[in-house]
Amino acid sequence: MDLIRRLFTAALVAGVLSGTAASVVQQATTVPLILEAEKYEVVTPPPAPAVAAPGAAAAAESHQHGPVREVGEGVPTTLDEAMQRIGLTIVSNLLTGVAYALLLSAAMLLAGRPVDARRGLVWGAGGFVAVSLAPSFGLPPELPGMAGADLELRQLWWLAAAAGAGVGMAALAFARNRLVIAAAVIAAALPHLVGAPHPESAEGAVPPELAAHFVTASLGSAALFWAILGATCGWLISGLVGEAEHRPALRVQPGAR
């Protein structure tokens, strides 16, 4: 019970720190681009129902059907709306940080190797490769208004690419059996060999320059997020893994005498 409490506390601290840092960086980099892109998204109107027969205008309005993607909140117009949106984004970032920190610290614990802040940085780099870089290879970070294939297919592919890359890296780092390593590398490569789901036509409303800038901003802020997350997890988990590491050494000593 004590181990769970300490593990969860470490993940909470690491998640809050990395989520806070990501929030600051995102507000300066990715979020302005998202807001800019939403202007283009709003400009693309749903098929106008005005073509409908005169007199049925009211009915048509209440029955508007456009395949245009719905962005729930739209571009904030008042200060209150803007603050609420920023607040919700910060909460989401903190939750994302805690979620990833729980997964990363569980992986550190299961690996059972000594960790500290510097080794944690390497773990963080691995996390970045697994959930940011590998999925981005097939599905680049996208802005609102960009053309995309079916959402569920993209989510599934994202999960497969991230899990495959994670398993592949873990096997390369820790596995001894060559068959296991080969299977893990195949699992990492498979989503990319199958290919990410893409729309038939890649036309979107967002200018390509904006989209390109967003990709670098998203990957850059994710890299910082993972560096802080990994280093903090490594630093806070070091005590937990260290105990398991020290125990055999203590046991050997009496026997040696």
């Binding site: 593990l7 969860f8 990501a22 979020v31 990833y100 998203s218 125990r247 009496p254």
Partner: protein
């Protein structure tokens, strides 16, 4: 004395392995649940709240 200390050490080692597995499993469970909520769940309110974070972290959003 020696026998007792070895016995204790072995006992704590097995308990530690089980504890480690349980703690890691609990962390993975809660982590996955949170990640699903913040990155993947599609109910409109959750999607709207997490919208900017999802785009920034490159989760497929909409």
């Amino acid at each position: 004395m020696t026998t007792r200390s070895i016995h204790t050490a072995a006992g704590s080692a097995t308990r530690s392995a089980a504890q480690t597995a349980v703690a890691a499993f609990a962390a993975i469970l809660l982590g996955s649940f949170l990640l699903y909520g913040v990155g993947f769940a599609q109910p409109q309110q959750i999607h709207d709240a997490a919208h900017d974070a999802r785009h920034s972290f490159a989760f497929p959003c909409h």
